[in-house]
């Protein structure tokens, strides 16, 4: 699972409706609002970065959004991540399994 924080800038006069719209998007939650400048911080939770990118693009396309970009990204418990120590089977010299198969295709 990934959590990203996104900075969005919206037209100040549309701020309220935008907050509602954004909160309705899957996995999205608006956390901080700066009234005068129309700046928002929202989080997006998604299973995969693929979904996050799609989500971000959707947000960017919403009418009323001036800009939206990622600020922070947490992936500490992303199931796709890779252990810091190599799994034993990859270290097993006798099988030479640390040679990616396609290299020898």
């Amino acid at each position: 699972m990934n959590i990203s924080a996104i900075l969005a800038v919206v037209l100040p006069e549309k701020l309220d409706t935008m907050v509602t719209t954004l909160n309705q998007l899957p996995g999205v939650e608006v956390h901080h609002i700066e009234q005068d400048s129309g700046r928002l911080i929202l989080t997006q939770e998604a299973e995969s970065i693929d979904d996050e990118i799609k989500g971000l693009k959707m947000i960017k396309k919403l009418p009323g959004i001036i800009m939206a970009d990622m600020v922070q990204h947490y992936f500490g418990e992303d199931e796709h991540s890779y252990p810091p120590e190599l799994p034993d089977e990859l270290n097993d010299q006798s099988e030479a399994v640390c040679v990616p198969a396609f290299l020898n295709e």
Binding site: T43, M67, Y74, N91, C98, V99
Partner: protein
């Protein structure tokens, strides 16, 4: 994950992001950050992916990276990162990360036809040494080569360059930056006598006109584009954006005007603007008279192809023949003041860079044919646009440049660099800005953007090119060699004066058997080079030995004989230099997995295996001709070495790297490291700190020579977010050549283009030299006249479509790193060929069909896309080049700019049909 933990994390990530961009947060929110991040260690770093050079913060916990965020204190990106920036923390955790050296073997012995097997580092280096020494003995220093990189950290590039040039006395080291920045470099050196932009990113906030030329900034430099968009949206009516491109792209979305031009006609458009400047008497005469001269050079310089058809595929021969002779088309005839159909022998392919000063009148005569009528007709790129509309846009473009109430910044990247006349078209940008006096001022300037994170900092400044030495010096200049030999403590004439093989020639050398040992470092040349079928065959079928240092099994690793598992960005200490001359450093954050090692360690460890007597004796260099040298030969310098206190038995490691001075740079170095490890130092185990020692040694080259850098500790200190060189008395330089900002400008001069290279030239007229005597031009920039020349390959009846390659935002170059992130890969699953719906229909194709793209050189398959973010005009196609399974470079043409030797990836002719 538990709900409470997840909620806490979200609140914390949000609060921390808010703080990052300066949105006030409550005390409670701040507490959640402390709570969620209590075991995280944040440290500053730099993004691995592009030349923008964004600062990113990296959090580690228990030896793993757990989070990244835009660095709020980084002046480049002010807390933001683009999508790619995210993956800095993930790229090292790909499942197929290489963790052991792999050697092709059969029955326990190296065998070029064998299969990869894991071996120890000792075994790997033994084989590498044996193979290297054999080639070195047989072919001499120019039988070996290194493929270097614009992604090298500064210490890595420096170690590789010093090992090659000072140790092995070979100039056969050339970076992939050749494919990306070489044309920019030639133009900088020819125009200003010194490399790299005069301005900086703050130009975006100072200017009111941004013109992009062949740069899809919205996708390729997104964070800079965010700054441009901010500027535009903050002052919608006044700020103007104009996007010139051959293919409608996202950068046009907020532009006031999009100009679609035919490939190669940018050369004509620049000249049209120059003609307008002259015609409307908008030349800043005061600026030009005081600070510039006019210049030109030969037109018959070929296209950087081989001069012989011996190696060409049958289908390629008609294009290859143009290297020798060109028949001028009607437009070239007008543009070059000649007759259509005239046969022009390409006589200056060997000396394309020569040039001479001309008068302003001659310059005027040069641009005279570039009328609006001519250029509008020639350059219109979208068949669906009316000529009147295109004309009107060109006129508005000239107006925007010329308006004396406007400041103007021109940005460009690969569209102008990867160009059969890349150096010319770069020079034309300076031509226009210099004529107007709109250069080297806040908000005014022609600004060449870079693709790679350290194309400037390493490839160019360190000089990991076949012709360069550090700090803009070149191997062919005896004074530069002498200065380098002094700083490197080498006997005179150790350095080789003959320019080495550029990256395409290294590949060609492998094909010809002139180069038999190559080491690939921090890049993927066998995927990234045009006309790839030739080079893969050369690597696999010829008698040679190819080493590839790589974290992942790339195409280059796959065609190699030995793969060295290599540490990635946060697994080592490093420094990068971005496109605005900003040098930035980071500490090692985590250890490399398994037996992966840093590039610095690999270079140093390899150097231990060579004794001076093996490399500093007499060496043959075919073709070497240089004053003070016997033809074809480098002298034995061992006697002088002895006199300097060296023994022939000393190793290159001791002489070049672990010098007495460098050994004093001690590791551990807690004041700088603050708990961070340095694997390179630990593996060497000799109590010195290689990255720091090498950086500080390298720095000596630039001090007092217009390239001053601060010391290692300054860049590493917690509060430093990089400094723009020259850094004089601890102060960075915001705008070069401008007295107000640049300490190198003579007091009272106002402006001074003080670069020292090529500062005396013969004098002549448009057609040639009339006075060979060199006339000096100290402190002046050159305004070049360069004509339009037609692209050597254009669509015809058989190959009837234009084809160009480029990048999309989710992927970085050949995709070696970003394709490792599975989710990201899925976002753009396989390469697409973008085509106009009309052209698709004409060929009976529909969206998502699998199509074959065929050129004279090869074919690839792709999914057809007729909608979406790249919208080619009729007659054009585009495919990104990140996907190994869609090997677009097989169809690309290996034409280069003859001056820079940079490949033109943007203009090939193809046909497309259903698979």
């Amino acid at each position: 994950m538990e709900i409470t933990r997840r909620t806490l994390l979200k609140a914390s990530v949000a609060a921390s992001a808010a703080a990052t961009v300066g949105i006030p947060i409550s005390e409670v929110a701040a507490k959640t950050v402390d709570e969620a991040e209590k075991d995280w260690l944040w440290d500053k770093s730099v993004c691995r992916f592009c030349g923008t050079g964004c600062g990113i913060m990296v959090a580690t916990q228990d030896g793993r990276i757990v989070a990244t965020k835009g660095d709020p204190d980084a002046p480049v990106n002010r807390g933001l990162n683009c999508i790619k920036g995210y993956f800095n923390g993930k790229i090292q955790y790909g499942k197929d990360r290489l963790t052991k050296p792999l050697l092709r073997m059969t029955d326990g012995k190296f065998d070029k036809q064998g299969k990869f097997q894991a071996v120890s580092w000792d075994r790997a280096m033994d084989e590498m040494e044996k193979q290297f020494k054999q080639v070195y003995k047989e072919q001499g220093p120019h039988g070996v080569a290194i493929f270097g990189s614009g992604q090298y950290t500064i210490p890595e590039g420096y170690a590789a360059a010093k090992l090659m040039k000072a140790g092995f006395r070979s100039n056969n080291i050339d970076p992939n930056a050749r494919h990306c920045m070489a044309s920019a470099v030639v133009a900088f050196i020819q125009s200003f006598g010194i490399d790299e932009p005069s301005g900086n990113y703050d130009d975006i906030e100072y200017t009111d006109t941004v013109v992009t030329w062949g740069a899809n900034m919205a996708e390729c430099h997104p964070i800079l584009w965010a700054r441009v968009s901010d500027r535009k949206l903050g002052d919608v009516d006044n700020v103007k954006l104009i996007n010139l491109t051959t293919c409608s792209n996202q950068t046009s979305d907020i532009a006031d005007s999009e100009i679609i031009f035919k490939p190669g006609t940018d050369l004509a458009i620049w000249n049209y603007i120059a003609r307008e400047i002259v015609k409307r008497d908008a030349v800043d005469h005061d600026f030009v008279n005081k600070h510039c001269v006019f210049a030109t050079g030969p037109y018959d310089i070929g296209y950087g192809m081989r001069p012989t058809s011996k190696y060409a595929f049958e289908a390629e021969k008609d294009i290859q023949a143009k290297e020798l002779e060109v028949v001028l088309d009607a437009d070239e005839a007008i543009a070059q003041r000649r007759r259509a159909g005239e046969r022009v022998k390409q006589k200056n392919t060997k000396a394309p860079v020569k040039h001479w000063q001309i008068s302003f009148d001659e310059f005027k005569r040069g641009v005279e044919p570039y009328t609006l009528d001519f250029v509008a007709r020639l350059s219109k790129g979208d068949p669906d646009e009316s000529l009147a509309s295109h004309r009107q846009k060109l006129q508005a473009l000239a107006d925007a440049y010329i308006d004396d109430q406007r400041k103007v910044v021109s940005f460009w990247t690969m569209g102008m660099n990867q160009h059969y006349r890349g150096s010319w078209v770069n020079e034309q940008a300076y031509m226009v800005h210099l004529l107007l006096g709109k250069q080297a001022k806040p908000g005014d300037g022609a600004f060449s953007l870079t693709g790679q994170p350290s194309a400037c900092g390493t490839a160019r400044e360190v000089g990991t090119f076949a012709h360069r030495l550090p700090a803009d010096m070149v191997v062919a200049n005896p004074k530069h060699r002498a200065r380098s030999e002094k700083l490197w403590k080498l006997p005179p004439k150790t350095l080789n004066p003959k320019v080495g093989a550029h990256i395409m020639n290294i590949l060609r050398g492998l094909e010809d058997g002139k180069i038999k040992f190559a080491w690939v470092q921090v890049n993927n040349p066998f995927q990234a080079s045009a006309n790839a079928n030739h080079w893969i065959k050369a690597a696999r079928k010829m008698d040679n030995f190819i080493v590839c240092s790589d974290p992942y099994p790339t195409v280059s690793a796959k065609v190699a004989d030995l793969i060295l598992p290599t540490a990635m960005i946060f697994e080592k200490w490093g420094l990068y230099g971005n496109a605005e001359r900003r040098t930035q450093g980071w500490r090692q954050q985590v250890n490399a997995p398994g037996e992966a090692r840093t590039d610095v360690w690999q270079a140093l460890e390899f150097s231990k295996r060579f004794k001076l007597k093996e490399v500093w004796g007499k060496q043959k260099i075919p073709g070497l001709k240089s004053k003070g040298f016997t033809d074809g030969e480098l002298p034995d310098v061992l006697q002088q070495a002895k006199a300097m206190g060296y023994s022939p038995e000393d190793s290159l490691y001791d002489v070049l790297f672990a010098t007495a001075q460098n050994r004093k740079v001690a590791w551990p170095d807690e004041a700088v490291a603050k708990g961070h490890a340095c694997n390179t130092a630990e593996w060497l185990g000799e109590g010195w700190f290689p990255e720091k020692a090498l950086f500080n040694e390298y720095r000596e080259f630039g001090l007092g020579h217009e390239h001053d850098l601060a010391d290692f500790d300054t860049y590493m200190s917690d509060d430093n977010r990089g400094l723009k060189w020259p850094v004089v008395d601890g102060k960075e330089t915001e705008w070069r050549f401008n007295e107000k900002y640049d300490p190198y400008v003579t007091k009272g001069a106002g402006f001074e283009f003080y670069g020292k290279a090529l500062k005396a030239t013969p004098v002549g007229d448009l057609d040639g030299v009339t006075d060979k005597k060199k006339k000096p031009l100290p402190g002046r920039a050159k305004i070049f006249f360069r004509p339009y020349a037609a692209p050597p390959e254009q669509p015809d009846n058989n190959y009837d479509l234009w084809f160009s390659t480029g990048r999309v935002i989710e992927h970085w170059h050949t995709g070696t790193m970003t394709r490792r992130v599975p989710e990201l890969h899925r976002a753009v699953p396989t390469a697409q060929l973008f085509m106009h719906p009309y052209d698709a229909k004409q060929r009976g194709l529909k969206r998502n069909d699998v199509v074959v793209v065929e050129s004279r050189r090869g074919v690839f398959k792709a999914l057809l896309e007729t909608q979406g973010r790249n919208r080619p005009a009729k007659g054009y196609t585009f495919a990104p080049f990140f996907d190994e399974s869609v090997f677009v470079n097989k169809v690309c043409l290996d034409v280069t700019c003859p001056m820079s030797k940079e490949t033109d990836f943007k203009k090939a002719a193809v046909k497309v049909y259903k698979a």
